[in-house]
């Protein structure tokens, strides 16, 4: 019997005591300090912002206690498919915090930012080499913004050739950002079917490849964790129809140093630095989503582009065909420092080993679980495997129940119900930074859950019971949205 301890249940506002102070600001050392003498009355705040009034210890203890309500990679194995929750090296945090990086203003003169520009230039070159792409923009703030940039470049490319193409083909197994980004870029999204292995249904693809198709967007390895064996035929087929091929790089962790999107025939691909290159997920971001392109798309890269002229690094704004800008400045630079640190730490051999071990770990988990769960697709898989809880569902334990039960057994949950083409999907990505012992413990827990489903399905249905809260009422949250704290009357 596990005993649940009372969880911390305070909000910072509930700790407030009027007059309490945690900050330390200097006294005003210039003559006029009263804003009423400097600014028009109507510009001044008419009633004060009700922010909490707390001590520094209140703040430190509160957020430390809040942190303890979370599972992170530092505390728990996170087998979350399609998210690549690998270890986030501490060294990256140190280098990103060097004053010359963290305290650097984006609009210092170029001559005063040579180190930062050099880092960006070298990182762009390394990512280009890793993906087999000719040019890389580091500007996109996240994968979805990288997708938008990529699709907008494709759009600009077709327009520059006087071609009007209105559709983008996307497999039904794709991440939701793919169709959403494509729609914002002004394209009609056409879903193409996947076959049972999550591979491209070639007949369906060929049927759709008409001269109004601008691009085909696909994830490699696919969202079932499998490499598409006919990928080069597919990209060649698209190319023969003037269709640009976009690779969603979410699963790049499977192929580092083994194969390259550019060599597979892709015109564009984005990178998720927070997946493949160890920048932390931060509870949902910030990430970074650089985008790589082949030479024919280079003129359309977002501005500015970091270039090297002789020994000087510079921001090149004079690019008339550019799609423009995605965020105010040059990219999520602090994330770029982390990714640079990581790639240098691993080197060429290390990165290849990363992917090999990621593939090994996923296949090991799949093998150990294949008797107790149905497979989403036959192996061998790449860096992640998809299982189905359809057998367990018949016993009253669905994929979500399995996920929740894992939380009680000391693991974060796999991705559930994705990809949507697998019933009761459980998508497991162990990553290369987990040891055999951890994988074994996880597999043991999964097998235990399968056994429990056969004997006492209520255990999983009631899980979790050891977490700070139990299952939450999502319906109430959506029907009666309570999106901000208000003082009790």
């Amino acid at each position: 019997m596990m005993v649940k301890r009372a969880a911390y249940d305070r909000l910072i506002f509930e700790l407030s005591s009027p007059g309490r102070i945690a900050h330390s600001l200097p006294e005003c050392d210039v003559p006029t300090s009263d804003p009423r003498e400097l600014l028009p009355d109507k510009q001044l705040r008419s009633s004060p912002a009700e922010l909490p009034e707390v001590s520094e210890l209140d703040v430190v203890r509160h957020y430390t206690r809040l942190s303890q309500l979370n599972y992170g990679v530092d505390t728990h194995f996170y087998p979350l498919g399609s998210c690549t929750m690998k270890y986030n090296p501490k060294l990256n945090e140190d280098t990103a915090r060097l004053a010359g990086f963290a305290r650097l203003h984006p609009l210092v003169p170029e001559a005063a930012a040579q180190g930062a520009l050099q880092l960006m230039h070298e990182l762009g070159a390394m990512l280009g080499e890793i993906a087999g792409m000719d040019a890389v923009s580091l500007q996109p703030a996240a994968g979805a913004q990288g997708e938008l940039a990529g699709v907008l470049m494709i759009r600009a490319y077709h327009a520059s050739r006087g071609e009007r193409r209105t559709k983008v083909l996307i497999p039904d197994s794709a991440h939701g950002t793919n169709p959403a980004s494509t729609a914002i870029a002004g394209y009609e999204v056409v879903e193409v079917k996947s076959d049972a292995d999550g591979g491209v249904d070639l007949l369906d693809l060929e049927r759709h490849l008409a001269d109004d198709v601008a691009a085909f967007m696909i994830t490699v390895p696919n969202t079932l964790g499998n490499f598409e064996p006919r990928i080069m035929e597919i990209t060649a087929l698209c190319r023969s129809k003037g269709v640009q091929v976009y690779m969603d790089g979410a699963n790049l962790n499977a192929i580092l140093g083994i194969t390259r999107p550019g060599d597979l025939g892709f015109d564009v691909c984005h990178f998720n630095l927070h997946k493949t290159f160890t920048t932390p997920h931060g509870g949902g971001g910030p990430g970074a989503g650089p985008v790589g392109v082949k030479a024919h798309l280079e003129p359309f890269l977002p501005v500015p582009v970091v270039t090297k002229k002789g020994e000087r690094y510079t921001l090149d704004w004079k690019r008339r065909a550019s799609i423009g800008k995605l965020q105010a400045f040059w990219g999520n630079f602090a994330m770029l420092v982390r990714a640079y640190t990581y790639i240098k730490t691993m080197g060429a051999d290390g990165l290849r080993r990363v992917s090999e071990d990621a593939v090994l770990n996923a296949n090991y988990v799949m093998k150990r679980l294949e008797r107790d769960y149905d497979l989403g697709a036959p192996g061998p898989c790449m860096h992640e495997c998809v299982l189905s809880a359809r057998r367990q569902k018949k016993l009253g334990v669905n994929a979500m129940d399995v996920a929740k039960r894992l939380l009680d057994l000391g693991f974060y949950a796999p991705s559930t119900y994705f990809p949507m083409i697998v019933e009761e999907a459980l998508m497991i990505e162990p990553t290369e930074t987990e040891s055999k012992e951890t994988l074994d413990a996880f597999c043991d827990a999964m097998i235990q859950i399968a056994r429990e489903a056969e004997t006492e399905s209520k255990i999983a249905a009631d899980a979790p019971i050891t977490t700070p809260v139990r299952r939450l009422d999502q319906t109430k949250a959506a029907r009666e949205p309570d999106l901000r704290w208000r003082p009790r009357d």
């Binding site: 900050h23 705040r45 064996p229 932390p280």
Partner: protein
């Protein structure tokens, strides 16, 4: 190998369990012609000591705000960052956690976002704030896209005083959309209300105003909101929350959507990113909002808990019909802002604004007293202002760099008509002594 725990012996054991002779047996689906037949040309692994030395050298080439006195602004500011922020965000339970899709194991992140939403709603005077967007520019772009969906109209009026890089981002986001951007002139450093009135029609989805605007000047936000509302359009106000301890909340000036850059709230400048995109709106628009939202609810035992909610708006459910493609937010930076606002509190944030505006006005007075130097615009400003120089601003900036001062942003890069102007920002972190030294150095540089 670093970060890779699997030993050769374990690798063999695992392969044996799988029933594979080697890793190649697992890669059978990769055709030979698809394989890279050489090592990646990115060099060998570098040891920590060597790598740190290399990165320190790179960082050392940059003129950062520790080694230099910083008067740069234009969307990124050298505000005070209280010490506890860094210590707390470095807790692995925060920074190595994923998006809180499993709420039972993510209450720390969810609670902090709920606090963040509350603080931003309070500061902006809006009903609801989301869990953050990438930066101020992309927040504005999302607001523009949202206004089109919410009104079914296809034109947006942008002020000439909007940050030019924000304008560029908006234009980039909208290029695939059936959406026209109309620019209203801002001849004297603030947008001309008559110019806006002249552009607003029945087709206008929204009127955008930024205050303080790119030049640091304060706009008549309430009047511009009225113009928008009279035509049935939305008012989108761009405002940085760090200023809202002193300045009026957009929500009390008619904003339907308030967006802005939250970097000033304890987030390091980091050469421009990652920043913190603030996004808040009225209750009427909540189901059109982009990005994640955290809501309070109860668990099976009736205990208070928090979840991501109203997810049917988002890309992972609505796919091509979603309001926005955003998935990743900037949760960790939102956490920095939350801790910052908790530390600064009700009094501290006001004091930050008061000190910034006081010091900026003192600096403006000092600079304008230099022969040949004058304030470019007459409108009231907050913590940033444009000065006209008798010498090339680029040259002046270079000269002051030698004195370890980051003098300001030359405006000629953005607008040829302002090529004799320098944009100077002053925050609470500048001292009177630094400002006096800056004025003296500038006087010498333009003499």
């Amino acid at each position: 190998m670093r970060y890779l725990p699997t030993t050769d012996r374990e690798r063999q054991q695992m392969l044996a369990t799988i029933g594979a002779g080697g890793i190649e047996d697992l890669l059978v689906r990769l055709p030979a012609k698809a394989r890279l037949d050489r090592p990646l040309a990115i060099g060998p692994a570098v040891a920590e000591t060597d790598l740190v030395r290399e990165l320190r050298a790179m960082a050392g080439k940059n003129a950062d705000a520790d080694s230099h006195v910083c008067f740069l602004g234009a969307g990124s500011y050298d505000h005070y960052v209280p010490s506890p922020i860094n210590h707390l965000v470095l807790r692995g339970e925060f920074f190595t956690a994923y998006t809180p899709y499993q709420p039972e194991a993510s209450q720390g992140t969810l609670r902090s976002i709920y606090e963040y939403q509350t603080m931003i709603a309070e500061l902006t005077g809006m009903d609801v704030a989301n869990a953050s967007i990438y930066d101020g520019a992309s927040s504005l772009a999302e607001a523009v896209l949202m206004s089109r969906v919410a009104t079914g109209r296809a034109e947006v009026v942008l002020p000439g005083s909007l940050h030019p890089l924000y304008r560029r981002a908006v234009a980039s986001y909208c290029q695939g959309m059936d959406l026209r951007l109309r620019d209203a002139a801002a001849p004297d450093g603030v947008v001309d209300p008559d110019a806006v009135r002249g552009l607003v029609t029945e087709a206008t989805a929204a009127v955008v105003v930024q205050s303080p605007n790119f030049y640091g000047c304060l706009e008549d936000v309430a009047a511009l909101s009225e113009i928008a509302h009279a035509a049935g359009a939305l008012s989108i106000v761009v405002a940085a929350p760090v200023n809202l301890g002193v300045l009026e909340a957009p929500g009390r000036q008619g904003a339907d959507i308030a967006v802005g850059e939250g970097q000033g709230l304890g987030v390091p400048m980091s050469f421009g990113g990652p920043n913190l995109g603030v996004f808040a709106a009225t209750q009427a628009l909540v189901r059109r909002m982009p990005g994640r939202l955290v809501g309070a609810t109860v668990d099976l035992d009736g205990q208070r808990g928090f979840v991501l909610t109203l997810q049917a708006r988002e890309q992972h459910i609505r796919r091509a019909k979603a309001t926005s493609n955003i998935c990743t937010n900037v949760a960790l930076n939102a956490l920095m802002a939350t801790i910052y606002l908790a530390i600064l509190g009700k009094q501290g944030l006001r004091k930050v604004g008061e000190l910034s505006t006081a010091k900026a006005h003192y600096a403006a007075e000092r600079l304008a007293a230099i022969p040949g130097v004058s304030l470019r615009f007459g409108a009231p400003f907050f913590k940033e202002f444009a000065v006209r120089l008798p010498k090339s601003p680029d040259q002046v900036v270079r000269k002051l760099l030698r004195e370890k001062m980051l003098a300001g942003v030359p405006l000629g890069t953005f607008d040829r008509n302002l090529r004799d102007c320098l944009l100077v920002a002053v925050t609470e972190t500048r001292t009177r002594e630094e400002i006096d030294r800056f004025a003296a150095a500038l006087e010498k540089a333009v003499a």
